[in-house]
Symmetry: C2
Subunit: 442 residues, 2 copies
């Protein structure tokens, strides 16, 4: 062979070591299982789509980030989210689906962003959406926080807050103040409240908004207390606007049903400053924060939209859904030492040989596998020290050692790699010990 090509993974593409991958996959599977508990159906759309179909709606920033290319005569693009493919799917297979159509999709999406720490060009999204045919009950908006709650609980978190708001409240407020056209700009300023504080927000808003209107806005964003109190204060604003009052009625319903769906009071709250993008969502919106790590930003977001498929069909298809950006979340959790992959393993046991006779190793491995134990076997011509180092690197809990004595007496030596204890016992006994322990830890 001549010159070697230096292999290199592209910048901005997450690639994990095996132990990290094990942890990542566990999280992905936990999310999937929880989504399935709620009866969401899986779909798996292609990563490559017709660029015209994929970009029917996109524009601006999204279009610049897209991976778009030609192959033969086809104008192709890689999906940049899972929502546009869902719109395509629902329209294309409308006749074969039952509505409300509840689907989840977990898969990679692509955005050619400027690479920066913790931002990826290829990343997993884990989405659930409920799509109605014509209409969709507001109670669905309350089931979503229940899904968020159970997902993060199953992922091992407890100290997190699901924040909900309703865009109609914001839109109605601005409409009633005749500030509808300035709403984008106002929301952008309000959005900074966490960073710059209330006084600074007031100062920025005062440059363009009259005093009496500014007072209402400040009163609005100062609304505080528990959820019931916030609803009461919203009612006391006494705003005579149909959209506002529809939003208020919806958030009351959603809050009521979130409780019935079993989400504890401490894990959700109404947060009237959340807007979530400026034109896509039309009703309920969600953001989720780890209370100890608020700086990570929202780890699960979404909302209600009036019409998923408007670029493809005249049929009206309202929906509500959320997305977890798993690649970024995983990176942040590891980076902030909130989770660690150090001790992850696939194998429960490593079987190693102390002599040149490997028959019993193979037999023992097969027996363990028949008992649903994950087993690796090291049958290489390596020194014993190297085999134990291998066991340590794999993070196995047990090593089964088979040498000449074990073969002669038809027993195995079982070493517990955590306690260091070892004993020479019958294979069935070893299986019982391993299974007892393995199950105990689950």
């Amino acid at each position: 062979m001549g010159e070697k090509m230096k292999p290199k993974t592209l910048p901005g593409f997450m690639e994990l070591l095996p132990n990290e991958q094990i942890l990542f996959n566990k999280m992905k599977e936990t999310i999937q299982k929880t989504y399935e508990t709620y009866g969401f159906l899986p779909i798996d759309t292609p990563i490559i789509e017709d660029a015209q179909v994929l970009l029917a709606k996109a524009g601006g920033e999204t279009e610049k980030q897209i991976y778009r290319f030609e192959k033969g005569e086809n104008d192709l693009a890689l999906r940049f989210d899972l929502t546009v493919p869902l719109a395509k799917y629902v329209t294309e297979y409308y006749d074969k689906l039952s509505f409300p159509f509840k689907r989840y999709q977990i898969g990679k999406v692509y955005r050619g962003e400027k690479p920066q720490r913790g931002r990826f060009r290829e990343f997993y999204q884990c989405d659930v959406d409920i799509i109605g045919d014509g209409e969709l009950s507001i109670i669905n908006d309350a089931e979503i926080p229940s899904i968020i709650y159970n997902t993060f609980k199953e992922l091992g978190f407890s100290d997190f807050t699901i924040c909900i708001n309703n865009r109609k409240i914001l839109n109605g407020l601005f409409k009633s103040l005749e500030l509808a056209n300035e709403s984008v700009q106002i929301l952008r300023i309000i959005d900074k409240i966490d960073k710059i504080g209330k006084d600074e927000v007031r100062k920025e808003l005062s440059s363009t908004i009259e005093d009496n209107k500014l007072e209402t806005i400040m009163k609005f964003i100062s609304i505080d207390g528990n959820n019931d109190k916030k609803i009461q204060l919203l009612e006391e604003l006494n705003i005579k606007d149909e959209v506002f009052n529809q939003g208020l009625s919806e958030i009351k319903q959603v809050t009521k049903f979130i409780k019935i769906f079993g989400v504890p009071e401490e894990n959700f709250k109404i947060d009237l400053t959340i807007a979530r993008g400026l034109d896509y969502y039309t009703g309920t919106v969600y953001e989720t924060f780890l209370n100890q790590y608020r700086k990570l930003g929202s780890i699960c977001s979404g909302g209600r939209y009036d019409n998923l498929t408007e670029y493809y069909t005249d049929r009206k298809m309202p929906g509500v859904g959320i997305s977890i950006g798993l690649s970024r979340l995983f990176f942040q959790l590891v980076d902030n030492k909130i989770i660690s992959a150090e001790k992850e393993s696939i194998s429960d046991v490593l079987v190693i040989s102390m002599c040149d006779d490997y028959d019993m190793c193979a037999e023992v491995a097969s027996k363990l596998r028949e008992s649903q134990i994950n087993v690796q076997i090291n049958i290489e011509n390596q020194k014993v020290g190297k085999k134990f180092k291998y066991a340590n690197n794999l993070n196995v809990k047990y090593v089964i050692i088979i040498g000449e004595d074990e073969i002669k007496n038809n027993v195995v030596t079982l070493k517990n790699m955590i306690t260091g204890e070892q004993e020479t016992i019958k294979i069935e006994e070893a299986i019982a010990k391993i299974k007892g322990n393995v199950e105990y830890e689950k």
Copy 2:
């Protein structure tokens, strides 16, 4: 809105309906779990790679099929298999991996083939490989058929045959006959034996091969009997060639250990006509056939290779592995009615309301989910008939009906959708019935 864009999935891209997707995912998860039983570690390389890295080795057909494009100044390509990314991964993270490195990867790969029925441009491969650092014991070659066996057994098959051969036997045979340069051409003719028969093969070979050599080849491809008999006949050929005899010694070892690893005699056989591509594999090769559906071709193939990473490093990294082309396999199994997705479902239960009070629906759904039951809830303003049609489409086994009477008496009506029976009982009793049944069917 103006003109609507007709949404269309690209030809050659598999996109399944939800019930098909459920079955597909079950198969994918079964494969994953079985691979994990053998201690293989997961990796997940990017779909997009640097084109130079990905194509270091490729040429000819592969290069033509590749999805290759530029983004900014980068020359990019989509992976066309999982082996080249593995070679990249092993070279890039060599210092952080333990060898033998056993990894599995299940993911989509891309080939811009001419679209034809059952051939996809985006398809899943499910790969396992064992990579050694410098050397790799031949016993690994025997563990692979054990993985194939358990994978297809877990997938619900029993009547299949894993065929093994060793390229060294073929190479040594041709070398000893001084036909090494013609071997590609000869193998191509032998490969047709299933289609055209032995006599036709002899006729085609006779045009270029001398009689005495032809006799040895015909004797070789006529070798028949059980595995032990075949090995005996191979020995009786009495070929004095080092490569041939190394291959013979390897296939004897592999055959012995396949049995020890618990693969029944009826599920594997030596098949001396299998060659599997012409330059990649260097030792053991595998193909797997469903005996009743031989026409599907090999459903799981692979082999031993001397050097995985030769384009990237001077280090020698031999390996052995297999791949299941899951998208194609799934299509073939459904197409031939070997499997059916008709009755697949995610939800065990659908909760529906017979009145306008949805509180109890939400409560009941939450209680069922706490008991690990997958539940969907239909809280739409739909007629009862439509809700039952919905239940039928979802293939749920149970419907829980909640009307005014149920609310008043704090009970539920549980309808078994298979038997049609229904009874009005306490929620705890309903949970017990559903769980009893759900577990029974697993």
